[in-house]
C-alpha cells in the first residue's frame, strides 16, 4: 500500500511539474467545466481551474505527501492498521487537491471541510486522552472556519453563481463583498491558526509525526493562506485586511517568544510553523500575494523536512520528545543531523538556502515600502526570535552533552526514512532559487541604505548569540527564575490564549447551567410537580384510610349523618 501510493503521488507530482512549466512559460490558464445535471433552469456544474499557481501548489503537495507516505512506511511499521493510516493520508491529499483546483465556493467547502474532518481523524490516531483532547480542539477550531465559508456561500448566492473569480472585477465596492471578505478572512484565520484561534496548532502535535509533517507544516495550515491568495484581488483595499495584518504580526511575535520557553521538540517546531504562518499572512495583508505564495512553498519544503528529522530523533530517543534529554547528536547521527541543520538554517534565512530567498525578499519589501514603526519592529524582532529559538534548539539537540541514558543506540541507517528526507533536502536546498526564477519573471526593485540592508544580519547574529547563551544555563542561574515568574508564564503559555478560548468561553455557561440544574431541575420543580404532588396525594390517601378503618356501626351511623347533612344542605 505504501509503495503504491508513493509511486502514484510521485508520478502525479511529475505530471504537475511538466504542466506547471508549460503553463507558466506560456501564460496559460485552463478552466474546465463539467455539467453534472441540468434541470429546467438549475444546473449543477463542477468546475476546475488550472493555472500556474494551482499546478505549482499541487506539485509541492504531492511531492511532500509522497515522501511522507514513503517515510511512514518505516516510521509506523509497528502499527497494525497501517492501511487505515495510509488511506486517511490519501483522503487528506485528495481534499487538499480539491481545495487547490476549485474556482467556486462549493468545492472549496468540500475540500475545506474534508481537510478539517480528516485532520481530526489523523490527530486522534493514537487513541489516548491527550490525542482526544487535541483532536477536539483542532476539529472545533476548524469548524468555525467551516461555518464562515458556509455563510460566504449563502451571501455569494446574491450574485447568481458560486464561481467567485468572475466577480472580483465588477463587484469590488459592493456591500455584500464587504461581508464576504470579512468572513473569508475569519475562515482563513481559523485554518491558519492566527491569534484568536491559534491554540489548536501546538495541541495538534499529539498526532503522529508523518501527519505533522504533511498536515501541520505544509498543507492544512497553508490552506487559509491559499484561500486569501485566491481572494486577494477582492481583499486589497478592505479594512479587515489591516486587522489581519495586525493579528498576524502579533501571531508571529507571540509564537516566536513562546517557542523559546518550550522544551518539547514537536511543540517548538509547531510554534515555529505558527510564526512562519504569521509571516505569510502579514506579507499577504501588506499587498504582496506572490511573495506570500513563494514563502508558503519554500516553508513547506524545509518544515516538512524538519518534522521528519524530529521523527527520526524521537524514534531514537525511545519516544521521548523532550529536548532536555537530547544532546550531542551531531556526533552520532551525521546524516540526520545534516538534514536537521540544513532545514534549521534555511528557516533562519541563512544566505542562499531556500528560506533565504523568500524571507529576505519579504523583509526587504517591508523595509522598502513605508509601513509604520510597529510593523517594522515586529518583523525584524520576530526574525531575530526565529534565529534565537533555532539556535537554542540546535544547542540543546546537537551540541550539548547527551542526557538520556548510559547505554544507547542511535540508529541512523534507516534508509527508508533517510531517502525520503534526502528528497526533501534536495528540494529545500534548491527550491528557493528555482522558484524565484519561475515565479518572478522580473525581480522586484529594492533600493535600501546600507545598514538597513544589513539589519537582517544584525538581528540574526544577535539572535544566535542569545540562543547560545540561553542554552548554557547552569545551576547558579536557576535561583533567579522566580523573579520573572508572572512574565514568564504569560509569555510561555502563548499569552494565555488556549485557556481563554477553551475554558474561558465555556466557564460562564457551564456554571450558570449548574446553578439552574441544581436549583430548578433537582430543586423547586420537584416540589411543585413530581415528588411534591405525589407526597400530597399520598398524604390525602393516608388521611382517607383513617376513615375507612372503622367499625361497621360507625359506617351505618355515618350514613344517617350524611342523610341529614344532605337534607339540610340542599334546603339552603
Amino acid at each position: 500500500m505504501c509503495f503504491n501510493s508513493f509511486f502514484f503521488l510521485f508520478f502525479f507530482m511529475l505530471i504537475n511539474y511538466f504542466f506547471f512549466v508549460y503553463f507558466i512559460m506560456n501564460g496559460l490558464s485552463v478552466f474546465f467545466e463539467w455539467e453534472i445535471i441540468s434541470f429546467n433552469s438549475m444546473s449543477i456544474v463542477m468546475s476546475i481551474l488550472l493555472d500556474w499557481m494551482s499546478l505549482l501548489f499541487m506539485m509541492f503537495v504531492s511531492l511532500i505527501s509522497s515522501v511522507v507516505i514513503f517515510y511512514s512506511k518505516s516510521y509506523m511499521n509497528s502499527e497494525l492498521n497501517l492501511n487505515r493510516f495510509i488511506i486517511l493520508v490519501l483522503m487528506f491529499v485528495f481534499s487538499m487537491v480539491l481545495l487547490i483546483i476549485s474556482p467556486n465556493l462549493i468545492s472549496i467547502l468540500l475540500g475545506w471541510d474534508g481537510l478539517g474532518l480528516i485532520s481530526y481523524c489523523l490527530v486522534i490516531y493514537y487513541q489516548n486522552l491527550k490525542s482526544y483532547n487535541a483532536g477536539m480542539l483542532t476539529a472545533l477550531s476548524n469548524r468555525i472556519g467551516d461555518v464562515m465559508i458556509l455563510m460566504v456561500i449563502c451571501w455569494v448566492m446574491n450574485y447568481g453563481s458560486w464561481n467567485y473569480i468572475f466577480y472580483f472585477d465588477f463587484m469590488k465596492n459592493d456591500y455584500v463583498m464587504f461581508i464576504i471578505s470579512f468572513m473569508i478572512i475569519i475562515a482563513a484565520m481559523t485554518k491558519s491558526a492566527q491569534i484568536p484561534f491559534s491554540s489548536w496548532l501546538p495541541a495538534a502535535m499529539a498526532a503522529p509525526t508523518p501527519v505533522s509533517a504533511l498536515v501541520h507544516s505544509s498543507t492544512l495550515v497553508t490552506a487559509g493562506v491559499y484561500l486569501l491568495i485566491r481572494f486577494n484581488y477582492l481583499l486589497i483595499d478592505m479594512f479587515f485586511f489591516k486587522v489581519l495584518l495586525f493579528l498576524s504580526i502579533l501571531t508571529m511575535f507571540m509564537s516566536g517568544i513562546s517557542a523559546n520557553y518550550e522544551f518539547d521538540l514537536k511543540k517548538i517546531i509547531a510554534l515555529s510553523t505558527l510564526s512562519q504562518l504569521g509571516l505569510m499572512m502579514s506579507i499577504l495583508s501588506l499587498g504582496f500575494p506572490d511573495i506570500a505564495f513563494f514563502h508558503l512553498l519554500t516553508h513547506a519544503m524545509f518544515k516538512a523536512l524538519l518534522f521528519m528529522c524530529a521523527g527520526v530523533i524521537i524514534h531514537m530517543m525511545n519516544d521521548i520528545q523532550d529536548i532536555r534529554y537530547m544532546g550531542g547528536l551531531s556526533l552520532y547521527i551525521p546524516l540526520t543531523s545534516l538534514c536537521l541543520n540544513i532545514s534549521n538554517l534555511s528557516l533562519c534565512g541563512i544566505p542562499f538556502l531556500s528560506g533565504f530567498y523568500s524571507k529576505d525578499l519579504i523583509l526587504e519589501m517591508v523595509s522598502f515600502n513605508s509601513f509604520n514603526l510597529m510593523v517594522f519592529i515586529l518583523f525584524y524582532l520576530s526574525t531575530g526570535l526565529t534565529v534565537f529559538y533555532t539556535f537554542r534548539l540546535i544547542m540543546y539537540v546537537m551540541i550539548n552533552d547527551f542526557n538520556l541514558m548510559m547505554i544507547y543506540n542511535l540508529y541512523d541507517e534507516d534508509y527508508i526514512m533517510l531517502n525520503s528526507m534526502f528528497v526533501l533536502l534536495f528540494m529545500s536546498l534548491l527550491s528557493g532559487s528555482f522558484l524565484s526564477w519561475f515565479i518572478f519573471s522580473y525581480p522586484y526593485m529594492i533600493y535600501l541604505p546600507f545598514n538597513l540592508k544589513l539589519m537582517v544580519i544584525y538581528v540574526s547574529i544577535l539572535g544566535s548569540i542569545l540562543g547560545f547563551m540561553v542554552s548554557n544555563m547552569g545551576i547558579y542561574s536557576l535561583n533567579k527564575l522566580l523573579l520573572s515568574y508572572n512574565l514568564s508564564s504569560f509569555l510561555c503559555l502563548m499569552w494565555f490564549m488556549p485557556n481563554l478560548s477553551t475554558y474561558g468561553l465555556s466557564y460562564i455557561y457551564l456554571n450558570f447551567s449548574q446553578i439552574l440544574f441544581k436549583n430548578i431541575d433537582m430543586g423547586w420543580s420537584e416540589i411543585y410537580s413530581g415528588k411534591g404532588i405525589f407526597n400530597i396525594l399520598k398524604n390525602y390517601s393516608v388521611f382517607y384510610n383513617i376513615y375507612q378503618m372503622n367499625n361497621f356501626k360507625i359506617y351505618l351511623f355515618s350514613f344517617i349523618l350524611w342523610f341529614m347533612i344532605l337534607f339540610i344542605f340542599f334546603f339552603i
Binding site: 399520598k538 382517607y544 355515618s558 350514613f559 340542599f570
Partner: protein, 336 residues
C-alpha cells in the same frame, strides 16, 4: 346453605337476574322496591358460606347495609306518593331517594361498606357485586334524580375512588375503589342518557370480567403475588393490557367509553367537572402502572415452589388481549 353444590347457586342466580328485570321494568315505584328486595334476598345465599367465618360476617354486613337502604327507599317512595304529587325531578325528595339508591350501589358517601365486603368475597362473587348489582339501582336512578345532588356525588365518587386506592395492596380492595371511581363516570352517563350508560356499563363489565377471571384462574388476591417471575409471558401481557385498558389508555378498549363521556361533558359545558374526571383518572392510572410496571418489567427472584403455567382453561386469555387491543379500531368498522 347446607350443601355447596352448583344447583343451589344456579337457582339463586336465576332469581337474582329475574329480580333485576322485575325492578327495571315495573310500572310503579313499589314494584321497583320489590325487585330490590328480592335482589338482596337472592344475593345473600350466593355469598354466604357457613364454613367460613369471614364469609358469614361479610354476608351479614351486606345484609345490614342493603336492608337499611331498602327501608329508606321504601320510606321515601311513600313520602313522595303522599306528600309530593308532582312530576319535576330536582327537589328534596329526589335527594333522599337518590341517596338510598346510592347506598345500594356502594357509591360515595355511602361506600364505606364496599371495600370491606369485597375483601371477604371470592372473585366470582365480587364480579357479581361489581357489575350486576349496579344495574337496577342505576336504572332506578335515571327515573327520578336531582341534577345538582348527583353532580356533587359524582365528584365525591371520583375523588374517593382515586385517593382511596392509592394506599391499597389487596387486589380486591383495589378493584373496589376502581369500581367506585367508575361509578362516578356511570352516574354521569346515566344523567345524559340510558343508552350511553349501557354502552359504558357493558364495556366496563367486559373489562372487569377479563381481569377478574384472570385473577380467579391464577388465584391471586394480593399485590405481591403479581411479582412472580415465572409467570407465563402472555399472562403478564394480558394483565398489562387489561390494567391499562381499565385505566382508559388510548389504543385499548377502555378508552372508548371515557372518551365518549368526555365528549358529552364538553357538549353540555361541564368544564370544571371534566377537569376533575381527568385528574382523578390520572391518579388511577398511576396506581395501575405502578403495579404492572413492577411486575412486568423488573426481574424478581425466581420462586421455585410457585409455578404459574398456562393452564388448560386459560386459552381465552389470548382472545381477551386481542379484544382489548383491537376493539377500538374494529368498532370504527362497525359503527361507521
Amino acid at each position: 346453605m347446607l350443601t355447596n353444590n352448583n344447583s343451589n347457586k344456579m337457582f339463586f342466580l336465576f332469581i337474582l337476574f329475574f329480580s333485576t328485570l322485575i325492578s327495571i321494568s315495573s310500572n310503579s315505584w313499589f314494584g321497583c322496591w320489590i325487585g330490590l328486595e328480592i335482589n338482596l334476598l337472592s344475593f345473600i345465599p350466593l355469598i354466604s358460606n357457613s364454613k367460613n367465618l369471614l364469609s358469614v360476617e361479610t354476608s351479614l354486613k351486606y345484609f345490614l347495609t342493603q336492608s337499611l337502604a331498602s327501608i329508606n327507599f321504601l320510606f321515601m317512595i311513600l313520602i313522595k306518593f303522599s306528600l309530593l304529587k308532582n312530576f319535576d325531578m330536582n327537589n328534596i325528595i329526589s335527594i333522599m331517594m337518590n341517596s338510598s339508591l346510592l347506598m345500594k350501589m356502594g357509591s360515595a358517601p355511602f361506600h364505606f361498606w364496599f371495600p370491606n365486603i369485597v375483601e371477604g368475597l371470592s372473585w366470582m362473587n365480587n364480579f357479581m357485586l361489581m357489575t350486576w348489582q349496579k344495574i337496577s339501582p342505576m336504572i332506578l336512578l335515571s327515573y327520578y334524580f336531582n341534577k345538582n345532588f348527583l353532580i356533587f356525588m359524582i365528584i365525591m365518587n371520583l375523588i374517593i375512588g382515586s385517593l382511596g386506592g392509592l394506599n391499597q395492596t389487596s387486589l380486591r380492595k383495589l378493584l373496589a375503589f376502581s369500581s367506585i371511581n367508575n361509578l362516578g363516570w356511570m352516574i354521569f352517563s346515566i344523567m345524559i342518557s340510558e343508552n350511553l350508560w349501557l354502552f359504558y356499563f357493558l364495556i366496563y363489565s367486559m373489562m372487569i370480567f377479563m381481569m377478574i377471571s384472570l385473577f380467579f384462574l391464577m388465584n391471586m388476591y394480593f399485590m405481591n403475588q403479581l411479582f412472580i417471575n415465572n409467570m407465563n409471558f402472555f399472562i403478564k401481557l394480558n394483565l398489562l393490557i387489561n390494567f391499562l385498558s381499565l385505566g382508559g389508555l388510548p389504543p385499548f378498549m377502555g378508552f372508548m367509553p371515557k372518551w365518549i363521556i368526555i365528549n358529552f361533558l364538553l357538549i353540555n359545558k361541564f368544564y370544571f367537572l371534566t377537569f376533575i374526571f381527568m385528574m382523578t383518572s390520572l391518579i388511577i392510572i398511576y396506581y395501575y402502572i405502578r403495579i404492572i410496571y413492577s411486575s412486568f418489567m423488573f426481574n424478581y427472584f425466581k420462586m421455585k415452589w410457585v409455578n404459574l403455567l398456562m393452564k388448560n382453561n386459560m386459552s381465552l386469555i389470548n382472545l381477551s388481549s386481542f379484544i382489548s387491543i383491537s376493539s377500538m379500531i374494529l368498532s370504527t368498522f362497525i359503527f361507521m
